[in-house]
Subunit: 342 residues, 2 copies
DNA sequence: CTGTTAGCGCGTTCAT
DNA sequence: ATGAACGCGCTAACAG
């Protein structure tokens, strides 16, 4: 509990017989200070290891060099990847990241945002919850001149730059792959269609069927409300026990696909020979399960990086940003679960 | 870019014909303020949604309500679980969390810590890197009166409370399980034995062998320097191709076990019938791979919670904490990979 | 090139 | 029960 008092600008000024402002300028490399003074000040500062009081600087400048990050679930592999991208990118630009999770529910998100705003973050990177259909808590940021960049799960209820993957194309390619592999009755475990990603993937699915002359049946589309593994399990059971079972399932995300896989295995189906399976998001474990799961990679780290770079640009230019959509390409990862024959 | 100026104490004072100090006191519930004034002030504040300027408060009080968190890798499932525990617990107590990753290297850790200290976090929760054998960058926190709580991967080069799992017992039970299942030639893919966890698990492994009269052979212990999947693969290959191959492998962590599994499968071994496999850490994917992997759960969320609670206690009591070890129990999760027969 | 002054918003003396 | 005054550490505006 020593609590040695830190050296302040004033201390240096006093010791060197200068004014605090001169010292400040010397340390911050102003042009209008003599070489000699600068040298002197820097030397003294170094020697007494002066560290500027960040709290005071923040207060004075009314900024924190903090950026807020809100994601639905930290533990989901895709998000922990994006978190990594955000943090690393922020670091490179001298920013730091406050990470919050919304739990994928509206109230959690609102709480997180209010808190972050209260702390005084300079900007926000957010992937909204499944329940975000209005955005007052986000508008508050813009009203205070603090930019927001959305990524992955985005809402149109607020004007801001967005970084997303091309869900439509990702889904299209994924389903096309199933078709090329010989599957003909392709079902889709979707999400809530009010959610953009879910909508995009659903549309890609339909278009792929259409373009290849395959039948679209409404009863082959099941909406997972919470995007849970259990939903994947239950809906797959439902599908397979129906009078007209599909021979392949395209799932909105890998977690749901895992549930589907579990059911199929437990019910004795041969994946991929009897039933093909395709996920989305390329979770780490998709590579390890057996049969390993074909999926669509979203380049999470890159998304986090891109979103953060855009945000920091805005912060530095004192802009709150405009509606703008950056679409990143997905990458189809073909593994065993979608290959009818080896 | 509207930038509506926020309401300040002064504004309220002016409007209500009071002094700023009275308003401050009213808002912070001082005893020496009349009910009436309090009511009045609170009402006005509410109506004009006054939000105290956190930056000013922090500056004044010389604290941030921020706690720093440093882990080796955010994307590792165990750590993302602990992160979650830290964040949720902090939230409950009105604290926020700055998450950094060290990349499991010394320089990364030092940089993260310096930065966090610079920002002015009130305390630090850290799981140190594989290379942390001295701790000046941690001592700096204590010198400024800011407590540290270590968890999971801890070092004795600094005096602080630590939250760990009982690695020894976890390993002991894990290896015992292998033995009970009929394996007799048990190898161990360990980590760097200077690292505490690695040491504990190694000791548990040895003791289990000893207690059950099994042979310990030095060439059956391989040290993974970076704890990578590839190391698991390579060492397993080495082991199995040696003149005296083991019939089971206890791995320092699931990631290494995955590498082992990959090799064993690719080389045509039957896991678990020919070779048993046991991991440590219970990564999410261990449940999903096939055969699914027996492992030792470390209750990551709980560890994060416990460490954070201890830290916040210290912060609130203006203590920097003493050497103290909280050992949490592990939980053996028996799955297929360690069952010689079903 | 440098010093003086002033103030960011708040909490906390010390008065009254 | 309230107000006046001060200062946290720093920087920006305005002199000179």
């Amino acid at each position: 509990m020593s609590e040695k008092r830190r050296v302040t600008l004033k201390d240096i000024a006093l010791a060197l017989n200068l004014s605090p402002s001169t010292v400040s300028r010397a340390l911050n490399g102003y042009h209008s200070i003599s070489e000699e003074t600068i040298r002197q000040v820097k030397e003294y500062a170094e020697k007494h290891n002066y560290v500027p009081n960040t709290l005071a600087v923040n207060f004075r400048k009314n900024r924190t060099s903090l950026i807020g990050l809100v994601v639905p679930h930290i533990v989901h592999h895709f998000f922990s990847t994006t978190i990594s991208g955000v943090i690393e990118t922020a670091k490179k630009h001298g920013y730091h990241v406050l990470v919050s999770q919304s739990g994928d529910v509206k109230d959690g998100e609102i709480f997180a945002c209010r808190t972050l705003l209260g702390i005084g973050v300079d900007g926000l990177v957010i992937s909204v919850s499944n329940e975000t259909f209005e955005a007052e808590h986000l508008q508050d940021f813009l009203d205070e001149g603090k930019p927001i960049v959305q990524f992955d799960k985005v809402t149109d209820h607020i004007l801001s730059p967005k970084v997303v993957v091309d869900d439509f194309e990702g889904a299209y390619e994924a389903v096309k792959n199933l078709i090329y592999n010989g599957y003909r009755k392709i079902a889709h475990l979707s999400g809530r269609l009010e959610v953009k990603n879910a909508q995009g993937r659903y549309q890609g699915y339909r278009k792929a069927l259409e373009d290849h002359g395959l039948e679209y049946r409404e009863e082959w589309v099941k909406g997972c409300w919470d995007i849970l593994e259990q939903e994947g399990y239950d809906f797959t059971k439902e599908l397979m026990e129906s009078p007209n079972p599909p021979d392949a399932i395209f799932c909105i995300t890998d977690l749901v696909a895992l549930g589907a896989m579990k059911y199929l295995k437990s019910a004795g189906y041969d994946v991929p020979r009897q039933v093909g399976l395709m996920g989305f998001s390329n979770w780490m474990l998709s590579e390890y399960i057996s049969p390993n799961l074909s999926s669509v990679d979203q380049h999470g780290f890159e998304m986090g990086r891109k979103a953060t770079e855009m945000l920091i640009d805005l912060i530095k230019n004192h802009e709150v940003g405009e509606e703008q959509l950056v679409e990143m390409k997905t990458e189809l990862i073909v593994r065993q679960s979608s290959q009818k024959r080896d």
